[in-house]
């Protein structure tokens, strides 16, 4: 239970690293970046490659910077061209980008998962509870993501840049009115968001599996988080990240099916047909479905999301 | 029997009251103008009547039928049609298509996907007749977005009247037009609203006093006077609140 909670919080914090960047990009630029999870994947792969050459600690810094620069370049030479065609082409551009990144990654690192290992320094168990150990690297991941969260919070609430960003979240036109160089701000925001995603990739890579499908597995979940929390709302994204992290982790841990539940109250299982499948489905299997159900429901009943102020 | 009646209509945005108790009655076939200073709530009042915004309090009736809280399309189907202050057309559709779309519901074709639109002679003829009325017949095959400003304003009116609504609301139909265009437009409005009830918001006092049978003066969310043009002109309260400056600006 404690482990599940810890893992859930950890997964949630990782989601938030991605979701915060996505929220920033959406609020300021109006672009729902389909390729955001691809930058997370690039982060993981760059992290893997750089750790092989120069070690994990260099990778932890260098990979996000590199990915951030790539993100900025994509904004500068890609998105900016598409911007004049409108929002749908922008969305489609990032959609195509996600596609290309996945193919490139497959080409360079192959289709199979790469052997991205936990650095030796952190390869021990942090503590033991009820006979099960909890790896130190996971604690480290948690630490990093909480630290970044706190830094973000401080920057957003205490600094001048943070105030500008906050203003831009609710009043996107303000940034331009205040006389800031909008294209440059866009480029920086996009690059920064991609860098944040890459950090998540670098630290998640060794713990989860680093493989070419990791982007499109996470991508839709990320959208659920951002939309569920309310587009443009960082606190909303934070709550939604934790919520979905916990739900998914707990769902996997519980092995209980509808059949069990109905059996307990005395309803037998139908012999055949599609319904018998329903009976066998366990909560663990339903786990991946829940976020999408949440997304659909919230969009129908509360279009602004949990904490959002803007309609989607 | 009144074509349109408002009973103590209120509208607040958040805590800010914009419309503070408007009661108004417009008779059948009447040409009614609503005037008032900027920010008085004229456009908001239009949005409330046409269903774009929900009414906070009060009642709106169209031909003695309660239309409060109905959706814009429901109100439109009951015979109230409106134009917009900022041109609101279908820019990539042809001029002809703009008008034809606006006649379809009222000819009973609704959501039909079993009629060939080319063979709907009544719809095509009516759309063409309206284009002739508003003087855009020779433009019919152009995309509406490439028309000149004045032509788009004419099309806006064409779309508004196409459905044959008994009550027509025009929101600043002559805004941004030159003198000669305005004169032409006044004739156009008079022609196309023949036999209908007209309610319009207008800043150009020449147009207002030329067209209107009755005038209501809206100041700060309330109607301070509603009367014939001659009496409005001599009403001192109106003079003070608005008309003095407005007429001054005209000359």
């Amino acid at each position: 239970m404690i482990f599940s909670t810890l893992n859930g919080v950890l997964y949630g914090m990782l989601l938030f690293l991605l979701a915060s960047g996505l929220t920033l990009i959406f609020s300021m630029m109006g672009v729902l970046n389909f390729a955001h999870a691809s930058f997370y994947m690039l982060g993981a792969y760059f992290g893997f490659q750089i750790s092989q050459w120069l070690g994990f600690w260099v990778a932890l810094v260098a990979a996000p910077v590199l990915v951030g620069l790539i993100g900025a370049a994509v904004e500068r030479w890609g998105l900016r061209t598409v911007h004049k065609w409108g929002h749908v082409p922008e969305l489609l551009f990032t959609f195509g980008l996600a596609f290309v990144v996945e193919e490139l990654v497959q080409m360079v690192w192959g289709k199979l998962p790469v052997d991205y290992r936990v650095p030796a320094l952190l390869d021990f168990s942090a503590f033991e509870l009820f006979g099960t150990t909890y790896p130190a690297f996971r604690m480290f991941m948690l630490l990093i993501s909480v630290a970044i969260f706190l830094v973000l919070l401080l920057v957003l609430t205490r600094s001048r840049i943070g105030l500008i960003i906050q203003a831009a979240l609710t009043h996107p036109n303000m940034v331009a009115m205040l006389g800031h160089n909008v294209p440059k701000v866009f480029m920086m925001v996009f690059g920064f968001g991609c860098g944040l995603a890459a950090i998540a990739g670098v630290i998640a890579g060794p713990a989860l599996v680093t493989q070419p499908s990791m982007a499109h597995v996470l991508g839709p979940i990320l959208f659920v988080v951002v939309v569920f929390g309310g587009l443009g709302s960082l606190p909303g994204a934070f709550i939604a990240s934790l919520l979905i992290g916990l739900i998914q982790t707990f769902a996997i841990a519980i092995n209980y099916s509808l059949g069990d539940a109905l059996g307990a109250i005395g309803i037998g299982r139908p012999i055949s047909g599609a319904l018998s499948d329903m009976w066998q489905v366990t909560v663990a299997q339903i786990g991946p479905v829940v976020p999408y159900l949440m997304l659909v429901l919230i969009l129908i009943f509360r279009p602004t999301g949990l904490m959002g102020t803007r309609e989607t | 029997m009144s074509a349109l009646a408002l009973e103590d209509v209120h509208k607040t945005f958040g805590v800010t009251p914009i419309i503070r108790g408007v009661s108004l009655e417009v008779g059948k076939g009447e040409r009614h103008a609503i005037i008032g200073p900027n920010g008085a709530g004229k456009s908001t009042l239009f949005h409330l009547i046409s269903g774009r915004f929900p009414v906070s309090q009060g009642r709106v009736t169209l031909n003695d039928e309660d239309i409060t809280g109905l959706k814009p399309y429901q109100i439109n189907r009951r015979g109230l049609s409106r134009s917009f202050q900022v041109t609101n057309i279908f820019p990539k559709l042809t001029v002809f298509e703009n008008v034809r779309c606006a006649v379809l519901w009222h000819l009973g074709y609704r959501y039909s996907f079993w009629h060939n639109i080319r063979k709907l002679n009544d719809a095509n003829e009516r759309a063409m007749a309206i284009l002739q009325q508003i003087g855009l017949a020779d433009r019919s095959q152009l995309p509406a977005g490439v028309l000149t400003y004045a032509e788009q304003r004419a099309l806006e009116i064409g779309i508004t009247i196409a459905g044959g609504a008994g009550v027509v609301m025009l929101d600043e139909p002559t805004a941004g037009m030159s003198r000669s265009e305005t004169a032409h437009f006044v004739n156009l409005i008079r022609k196309v609203t023949e036999g209908r009830t007209l309610i319009m918001v207008e800043h150009d006092m020449g147009v207002v006093f030329d067209l209107a049978d009755r005038i209501s003066v809206l100041v700060y969310g309330q109607i301070i006077a509603s009367d014939t043009p001659a009496r409005i002109r001599s009403n001192t309260a109106v003079q003070e609140a608005y008309l003095g400056q407005a007429l001054e600006a005209e000359h």
């Binding site: 360079v108 659909v296 | 399309y73 959501y111 719809a123």
Partner: protein, 430 residues
């Protein structure tokens, strides 16, 4: 449109008939003749796939191009239609029911319609980005359910059927691919005609109005939600027919057919072809299937090219292929198209240089990274043999790519001016 008014005055009925139905007669003729020209098994399979994808992408464009609804989950209706058709095939074969194969796509169509109705009622209440997100959520929901509900979806392997076990009419058992081809071609033509007819109905036109300006549509008496909903149901119906055709063609449906990937492919097809024109998605479906078949034969990195072509289209030709063609129609009509041709020829040099450089780069990299361990460093590029371990191919690729980009940028303004002259000269001559 203009032809309606003109046609009324035209006295020659034969000419008029030909004008109106000429395209359809030509299309039918082409579909009949194609297998005579390309009779190989591979060609037939490709053309069958094209027919299916044409129906699918046209149904998608009813949403995106005509009503302005961006859907990320259109494969749901295609896939469900296909799965039900496969199950229907098995049931009919098992129970010896007197239902012939050619009507089976209708089963898929009704499944698509049913789910279009259910999910449409939920998702078309919202428009714009919210609609797109709901469609994404529903798409992923069904895709993940397809892996859980093994009874209906058959898990990873999918569900198979045998199309020849159905009632035979006039001795046609649909065993050979050529018979399936004609079945698909016939359905394809019927569906194209039906979807085209849809654009010429009051609702079809209102779909365009809702895409252009939903607010104004509400003020001319139409509930935009209802317009979106009906369009969504109809699009689901045709997607289901495409799914039914796919079930007949492959005799197999699996989770891939209903996945987000499939939804992405149909979006790519419609967009590359051009969503602004009715025929755009047809072009897109043909091109994408061709790319799939031929590029995957030539190169292992074909998906990458595919993605790059898509991005290139989004960036530089948002109107798609059909948009590019429409751009030149006025020049063709006025006879000024010859003016711009030399400029296009000149522009082709840097474009080809850049493309050659990029492909050389990708191919060399692909060879170096993927195939060197198994095949050794020697590789071929357009029959040119070289060693991918030496710097020469890399250098050549970089030079070609860089040179192409540089020359292209240099020449682009002149090309633009030439096009402008040709187009605006037209306006002036009027």
């Amino acid at each position: 449109m203009s032809s309606t008014i003109l046609a009324a005055a035209r006295p020659n009925p034969v000419l008029d008939l030909l004008r109106r139905y000429g395209v359809w007669i030509a299309a039918a003729g082409l579909m009949i003749l194609l297998p005579k020209v390309f009779s190989s098994g591979a060609a037939l399979t490709t053309m069958c796939l094209m027919g299916i994808m044409i129906v699918f992408s046209l149904s998608y464009n009813m949403l995106l191009g005509q009503t302005g609804m961006l859907s990320f989950g259109h494969a749901v209706y295609y896939g469900l239609g296909g799965f039900l058709a496969v199950h229907a095939m098995n049931t009919i074969a098992g129970g010896k029911l007197p239902i012939p194969l050619p009507v089976l796509p209708l089963v898929g169509g009704f499944m698509g319609l049913l789910f279009g109705f259910i999910f449409g009622a939920v998702s078309t209440r919202r428009a714009g980005t919210a609609f797109a997100m709901i469609s994404l959520g529903l798409g992923e929901l069904i895709a993940s359910l397809s892996l859980i509900l093994r009874g209906f979806f058959g898990g990873e392997e999918g569900i198979t059927a045998n199309r020849t076990k159905m009632l035979t009419l006039w001795g046609v058992r649909f065993g050979p691919q050529i018979e399936v081809y004609y079945l698909i071609a016939a359905w394809c033509l019927v569906c194209i005609a039906a979807m085209f007819a849809f654009t010429r109905t009051p609702l079809g036109r209102l779909c365009n109005a809702v895409r252009e300006n939903p607010e104004r549509a509400e003020f001319i008496g139409y509930s935009t939600q209802m317009v979106r909903f009906i369009a969504f149901c109809v699009a689901g119906f045709f997607a289901g027919i495409a799914g039914g055709l796919a079930a007949i063609n492959f005799e197999l449906m699996n989770a891939v057919n209903i996945s987000g990937g499939q939804s992405g492919v149909v979006l790519l097809m419609a967009y590359i072809g051009g969503i602004g024109h009715f025929a755009g998605p047809i072009l897109g479906a043909i091109l994408v299937v061709l790319l799939q078949v031929f590029l995957s034969d030539i190169t292992g990195a074909w998906m990458l090219y595919f993605g790059l072509i898509f991005i290139g289209m989004v960036m530089f030709a948002p109107g798609g292929l059909a948009g590019l063609i429409m751009l030149h129609l006025p020049l063709w009509r006025r006879g000024t198209i010859l003016q711009v041709l030399p400029h296009y020829a000149a522009m082709a040099v840097p474009v080809l240089m850049g493309a050659a450089g990029l492909t050389l780069l990708i191919e060399t990299a692909h060879h170096q990274l993927v195939k060197t361990q198994t095949d050794g460093p020697a590789m071929h590029f357009f029959r040119l043999g070289f060693d991918s371990n030496t710097p020469l191919p890399w250098l050549a690729a970089a030079l070609l790519l860089g040179g192409g980009l540089w020359l292209g940028r240099l020449y682009a303004p002149r090309l633009k001016a030439a096009y402008g002259d040709a187009a605006h000269g037209v306006e002036a001559a009027r």
